[in-house]
Symmetry: C2
Amino acid sequence: MKIKIKRALLSVFDKSMLDKILPTLKKYKIEILSSGGTFKYIKKKGYKCVEISDFTNSPEILDGRVKTLHPKIHAGILFKRNNKKHVKQMTKNNFSGIDLVIVNFYPFEKTLKNTKNDEIIVENIDIGGPSLVRAAAKNFKYVNVVTSEKQSDYLINELKKNNGSTSLNFRENLAEQAFAETANYDRTINSYFNSNKSINFPDKTLLKGELVQSLRYGENPHQSGAIYSFDRSKTLIQLNGKHLSYNNYNDIFYGLEISKSLPKKIGTVIIKHANPCGVSAEKDQIISFQKAFECDPISAYGGVVICNYKLDINTAKKLNDKFFEVIVAEGFKGNALKLLKNKKNLRLIDSTNINLQSNLSFQSVLNGFLLQSTDFLKFNKSNFMVVSKRKPSSKTLEHLMFAFNVCRYVKSNAIVISKNLSTVGIGSGQPSRLDSCKIAVNKMIKFYKNQENLVAASDAFFPFVDGIETLVQSGVRAVIQPSGSIRDKEIIKFANDTDTVLVFSKTRHFRH
Amino acid sequence: MKIKIKRALLSVFDKSMLDKILPTLKKYKIEILSSGGTFKYIKKKGYKCVEISDFTNSPEILDGRVKTLHPKIHAGILFKRNNKKHVKQMTKNNFSGIDLVIVNFYPFEKTLKNTKNDEIIVENIDIGGPSLVRAAAKNFKYVNVVTSEKQSDYLINELKKNNGSTSLNFRENLAEQAFAETANYDRTINSYFNSNKSINFPDKTLLKGELVQSLRYGENPHQSGAIYSFDRSKTLIQLNGKHLSYNNYNDIFYGLEISKSLPKKIGTVIIKHANPCGVSAEKDQIISFQKAFECDPISAYGGVVICNYKLDINTAKKLNDKFFEVIVAEGFKGNALKLLKNKKNLRLIDSTNINLQSNLSFQSVLNGFLLQSTDFLKFNKSNFMVVSKRKPSSKTLEHLMFAFNVCRYVKSNAIVISKNLSTVGIGSGQPSRLDSCKIAVNKMIKFYKNQENLVAASDAFFPFVDGIETLVQSGVRAVIQPSGSIRDKEIIKFANDTDTVLVFSKTRHFRH
């Protein structure tokens, strides 16, 4: 059902969209109502405009807190054009229709970023705007509602196409977006109140995301999928290759979480099936890549490589010799990028923009979701306690802490064997800790020849001696693990009997 | 700052809360404004009440679409009581303050459940209510806003405690909850528009949850955590034992997802670290438990058992002999419950209420989340194709489909070996498919003696022959896997050379 727009109400905080829209409104002889700053702006630009207080015959009061909250405005938006009783009441009250509402809200979110002054923040909760928008969206059968600058072209094109009218489908799309806008707006306000009161887990919560991309499919081709961001301005930049898949995104962000836990601009992480199959924090980038790769060169095939540094040509050459699905780096040096771009399908991703880490992480379960504070704990020496007779050198302690840090990102039960600052065996995702030990040892034996200076980490305590025993028998000389087992004493005794360094962590780091 | 309430505006769709609140309002001589059904209800109950149209001197029009959207109402709520200019304007316009707003909205969500008539649904989008609530919540420094029946006692107690006044902290709490209410309300409306337009992945999305429980901690003790439900009326019922932990919830819901994919009221699942360590779909409950347990009796220790049936005394006795953290069942027979309750810490959970499955699943990543349609694909024979010369009997095909179904719930790369309708070896969470094969085989060899009639499933294709070779060499006689490898032909040749049944699935089932 096409409907001609006769009268529009404009009330915008951000005036930038007006320049674009005003000529079109004029072209189709649409009368404009406005007030305050919007009114002044429109007049200054030389367009006709009726002031809202003249339209309602009611003064603007309370510093603009009450302008549009008036029956004449809301009836003008809300009346059903095909309802005789409504039309009669409109006429009787000398009310007239408003067919287009263009509103953007007081910038609550931006204000939050700019000030800690609660008075100013609360003043930026828009009341009139959302009321207008919700009324117009409810009555989308007859009324158009524009809530963001991005919709300007959409409106202009629709009016041109229909010579000043709009289609029902168009109005319904706008209504959908309007309620997304109001819901998000109030969600942000609610979060402000929650964080003011230090409420982490409110009775009702809304997790907000901005669509980055609809994906070709989800985790599998028969599923649909999409990636959402908490802040779309901070996303990955793709420089080459095929579209990223759902599983690519999962692996990339998982890998970035690990690489960002390493020293700044140092280290390489290789991910396969959402588990690391090699991590190195060697300072030299080419060595760090090689060490990460050598941890499990078979699994690394087709994996996702995360370079926590600006990739140079020498490392790029090494990478270019192997098959990877995705290479992520904190920037690419010119000739490195050029070389890698020769493979047309190879996905090259610049991660420089990614510095946001959410304080909350969540995952859906059968009919709801689990929400938790993210495990961002920074390790320092006070988190650990040497419990064996043999004391670690400061180098060994550094190596242990590296292994323990990687271990927290491996799916539980997790065992990581490392040498210097590189993993050499990772055992992941087993219901039995002993099995994870065996897997880690087998990886090490399979791919790694020099078995000296080995250290190992466990994400939780060993329930029995057999786990640490398996590690020590394969050449591990120092072990780090959380305490808490009823057999901790036996474990310490075993370490002392075998002259092994044993360090206890105060914190456990399950990850599933 | 304590503030005395002089005037309240009441506009409720659900009248149930009024009986409770009206005597208190009367006691503290609070003037009541109201209209429509609420006005009639209050008068009928014998309380004084001023009709809003008398207060505003403006008629109620458009079938109640415009009642409270009036400057006198909104100024009465919004004016700053400590601002001289505001107070002067109020006096000049003969406006007066409204200090308490009690509103519940048109029942949009309920309407959605009751009708498919779009006209009725849209009519149930409340405009006036949210405007009042938002205005009152913004001005919480002076104004109180009650949005749900659950807050009645909170209000009554506060008024009693302060002899008709309320504290700033009280008003701020109400404001927080008010914006949660309006955000949720508009989120539901937005979802309605999205589903009408078949939009799965809107530009902005809000994932909604109702708090079931704040947990003692998250995945680890240094993290905070909570469990949210999409519908709090459908939750687990705990009958015994310690509080459920974050990891318990994760395992329980993961296990329920598997058990609910089995035939109705049949089968047992044992979960450890968010991976199944034994699944059986044997019809007899005691046999199904035993078979699930025997798959990996060591890992099952301290695990979560999901009984997809009403647990009887005989099975309970078997369960009682072992150590589990949680036992979930579709109900407990009287004497079974009594027996198990003897262990005071043992968590006993009735899962009868859980029948909701969300069509969308999600998980957070570094700075956003991945959202996808859930892998609910029901398997039937047309999903599969026999590609080997040797054809499976209908029994073998049934066993293969059982193994393939379990396999989709095992973390990738996933390999499941089973015998009849029970798993005997599960290989999970490895970056290399061959490693998962070896793990599954080792589990089988370790715990399972009779190696006849073995079948195996892989969640994705074998990239090389070595994986299927490992399985067949250990006694597997039939294999099911998705097709898609460039070496599919080699795999088929290997199956034919070894007289193995090979079935290809049209769908892949990664799970990470």
